[in-house]
Symmetry: C2
Subunit: 152 residues, 2 copies
DNA sequence: GCTAAAATGATATGTTGTAACATATCGCCA
DNA sequence: TGGCGATATGTTACAACATATCATTTTAGC
């Protein structure tokens, strides 16, 4: 696990490279999400930041900041859970395949893995046959992680 | 497209076969969802039933009824959209594969198709390798349907 | 018909997210 | 360097989705 500072530094360089600004608030929100090491709802993230940094950010601001971070591909929104998670690949520079998110129902830990091209091609073929076209090529699956599964 | 009555009749037989009751309210909610031919939120379903049957069902009841219908596998909840849709296979009796839902972002039309076992096995293998275990083997994908795609 | 269980109703509230408008901050260039 | 437009953040109100809790009605079985 890399340090938060390293990740933030990468994120800042990434933003600067095309004229976007990773302001202090935005850094704080992103740091919170990285530190939490799991998926948080916007309101959980507010509480986490309040506790961790002692500063209360209004809900509206958090939503706006999350939107910015999503556009910068530093954060992903998990629509299944209505939660947000830091991108697992902020410090890599390579282009990514279709992301697949495994969300633990119990502890909200998230694993971000990649679907192989062949599997994705099969899915896409199914979809086109049904007369639909894929818009958001992101898969989210309800799972239980190993540690939660063995704990119970 | 089969008639609603036929589908409801199947649903009723299915419930009776193991002692569950498809009450008039439950029939009404299921009928509404079938008639609408698309995914509806609980509140949209309330409005639809009010308009179609002239009877207003409280939100709480609709949620309870939807929960019952889900347990009976007559209705699916689409977590991506926070909407509910009638199962496309109420009148078939065969066991079903993993359902895959294609949701049109624009008109909320839903196509329920099946993932082939081989594709699903590939996904499951990825998941187990990441130390997670699949809980809800249902895939939901954000799509756009053919008619919405050509309309614009 | 009586009773326990199941279903439904009513009310309040929790949770997620956005609209609309006000204020503050930043970056540029005259 | 100071003012102006653009960007970012704050504030308030509210919409949409969902559940908790307790009251009432309906049903099935004796």
């Amino acid at each position: 696990m890399q340090s938060v500072d390293t990740i933030i530094e990468h994120a800042e360089r990434h933003c600067k490279s095309h004229g976007a600004r990773l302001t202090p608030k935005r850094k704080q929100v992103l740091s919170g999400l990285i530190l939490s090491e799991k998926a948080l709802s916007a309101y959980e993230l507010i509480d986490f930041c309040k506790e961790k940094f002692g500063e209360s950010i209004p809900a509206m601001s958090v939503y706006r900041i999350l939107e910015f971070l999503e556009e910068e591909r530093l954060v992903h929104k998990l629509n299944l859970a209505n939660k947000y998670v830091a991108c697992a690949h902020i410090t890599c520079s390579h282009a990514h395949e279709v992301p697949q998110f495994l969300i633990c129902n119990q502890c909200n830990k998230v694993e971000e893995i990649n679907i192989s091209k062949s599997t994705m091609d099969e899915l896409k073929e199914n979809i086109e046959q049904a007369g639909f076209h894929l818009v958001s090529p992101q898969l989210e699956m309800n799972c239980i992680c190993h540690s939660c599964a063995t704990r119970n």
